[in-house]
Amino acid sequence: MKIHEYQAKETLKKFGVPVQDGIAIKALSEFDGAITQLQARGINQYVVKSQIHAGGRGKGKLYNPNNREELIQEGGVKFTTSAEKAKDYASKMLGNLLITHQTGTEGKIVKTLFIAEGLDYKKELYLGILLDRSVSKNVIMASTEGGVEIEKVAEETPEKIIKEWIEPSVGFQSYQARKIAFGLGLKGAALKSFVPFMMKLYKAYEETDASMLEINPLIITNDDKIIALDAKMNFDDNALYRHQEISAYRDLDEEDALEIEASKFNLNYIKLDGNVGCMVNGAGLAMATMDIIKLAGGEPANFLDVGGSANKETVANGFKIILSDPNVKAILINIFGGIVRCDRVAQGVIDAVKEVSVTVPVVVRLEGTNAIEAKELLENSGLNFEVASTLHDAAKKITSVLSMETVN
């Protein structure tokens, strides 16, 4: 699960990690109150930061959501020493469409702003914590090249990235924090404050079941303080059950409406841009089915794993979700019935097609227990199914269905 920058900072603050101070607002009417509070804390320069679940906000552009041609403002993160100017920036961000290199051309509507303290600093660093799958341990990555895209640094100058792996039995050690600090070339007061900073940061990562924590940039202020200027945190979905305070951060506005709908029915759905919808049991087979669609000359419109129980309800809900995407020109159902019986799945498909009015051609491939009975059921249903017996056959039928579509 992803959360916003301001939420990540709230979380880090609970662990004593020094973060950039600020207040989140959801409407322009809250702006003056936020500024007054910040001023009361002695803050007199400001950064207005758009809160969306995507990076590259600073270099992003804001457009009118009703007219995507109309550029409102360059930059989704703005610095100023004037409260008035800050309000102007805020008004141009809230409710508008922010497009960054990570959002794609669709962009994201800015619904929350983080009005933060503007800080003067002399150095930008990079810090990241995540799982290193190759050794099954967490790794801390640090670099003097803060503020830029770390992927670029990793590719072009990998020697500039310092790595420390954490031994799970003993946890993160202060000698490791010192090693990172010296590796980053820190001295004096900055060196001293880095070690506790790093220890607290790792603790926050570990105790919240985070799957990724990135501070980019981490800054050294002119008076040698270490502060997280930005913060990005992702969490392990499997562990959310033990972190209610994190689960409460879920922002449904940031998620695809269809994906939210699907998750209500325990369907694992991801919307894509293609023209062939698919419904499959199992994640691996679902990906393989998407690949088959592509090889057959189509483009997958979605990933949809209906899980272990492919019954009438799951199939009907699957159809509803796939069909609410207007780009879908055909549907491929690929169920490998192992423990579940194919004839039951077939009956589910038939009932679901009758219940939901399915107007696009449907290719059905059921394999496994009672596959022959299932095939007969589908063929004798009086409904317009293309019944395929093998994966190869399914691919061919998708190709022919698609070519018919283009003729029509």
Binding site: E151, V280, L285, I293
Partner: protein, 327 residues
């Protein structure tokens, strides 16, 4: 022959009285698996349904009484890490964890703790292990399998069934099929299972089914390039998956441009693996590869026969002198 599991392997089921656990235990017994015990804390002393399989409160007790050597884990995700550790500490040699949804943090701790112990973990979040015609530990449908000589190793469930069905339909049986699981942290990786298949004299070919995400396929390809002479057919699912989106399995995500299908397929091709573009071609490609091996062998045999014929012929025309010299 087979790896990891055969008819004699003594199996204990952790979470035997739960919904999934009881259903699949019955299936396993029906398939011929030697299930000797079950564990459900608080239900010790009972028998499993209408069988004679005893239930114990702790795994240590089950091992002591029944000498169980392999375990199947069907407990809920929040108890699964504990169950794996219990098995490892009770002296179980093979732990197959079916449970889906275990927090990564729990698995980091477990993986690194049991690494030093003499135990092999398969999974979590996997369909399990089956040695066709002998035994199965897991949730895969037994009837699609056929006893034979191809080893199958895969990160997914139903896609493995798909590949197995293709093989069986072509008359190609399997020595053992191992679903290693789709999580970021798993007990056995491709390379571990491929090593076993490589050493198993009963395995003549290997099918490897990977997914986007991580670098386990590349690691395995490296190993195979150096050490594996048996024919290998490979497929990577998720060529059409967009970066940054998790495709169902917690491990299946392309992050920072790494773990793409294209990268994995290139590494595998370089290692001499028959990489198929379409998942529909897995079976047929293995058949061709095996046929080719057979032809090679026949050729070798013919040429060695020819050589001996030649030798015999030469011996026959050898002057007697030389023969007497040898004496």
């Amino acid at each position: 022959m087979s790896i990891l599991l055969d008819k004699k392997t003594r199996v204990v089921v952790q979470g035997i009285t739960g919904g999934e656990g009881s259903f699949h235990t019955k299936q396993m017994i029906e398939y011929g698996t030697n299930v000797v015990a079950g564990v459900t804390p608080g239900k010790g002393g009972q028998k499993f349904e209408d069988t004679n399989v005893p239930i114990f409160n702790t795994l240590a007790e089950a091992v002591k009484v029944t000498k169980a050597e392999a375990s199947a884990i069907f407990v809920p995700p929040s108890f699964a890490a504990d169950a794996i550790l219990e098995a490892a500490n009770a002296g179980i040699k093979l732990v197959v964890c079916i449970t889906e949804g275990i927090p990564t943090k729990d698995m980091i701790a477990v993986y690194n703790l049991i690494k030093e112990k003499n135990v092999r973990l398969v999974g979590p979040n996997c369909p399990g292990v089956i040695s066709p015609g002998k035994a199965k530990i897991g949730i895969m449908p037994g009837f699609i399998h056929k006893q034979g000589k191809v080893g199958v190793v895969s990160r997914s469930g139903t896609l493995t069934y798909e590949a197995v069905k293709q093989l069986s339909d072509l008359g190609i049986g399997q020595s053992t099929c191992v679903g290693i699981g789709g999580d970021p942290i798993i007990g056995s990786r491709f390379i571990d299972i491929i090593k076993l298949f490589n050493e198993d004299s009963g395995t003549e070919g290997i099918v490897m089914i990977g997914e986007i995400g991580g670098s386990a396929e590349e690691e395995a390809a490296d190993f195979m390039k150096k050490y594996v002479k048996k024919p290998v057919v490979g497929f990577i699912a998720g060529r059409t998956a967009p970066p940054g989106r998790r495709m169902g399995h917690a491990g299946a995500i392309i992050s920072g441009g790494k773990g793409t299908a294209a990268e994995k397929m290139a590494a595998m091709k370089k290692a001499g693996i028959h990489v198929v573009e379409s998942p529909a071609e897995i079976g047929i490609t293995m058949k061709k590869a095996l046929d080719k091996e057979k032809k090679k062998e026949v050729k070798k045999k013919i040429s060695s026969v020819k050589k001996t014929v030649k030798k015999v012929a030469i011996k026959k025309v050898l002057p007697k002198k030389k023969i007497s010299k040898k004496k």
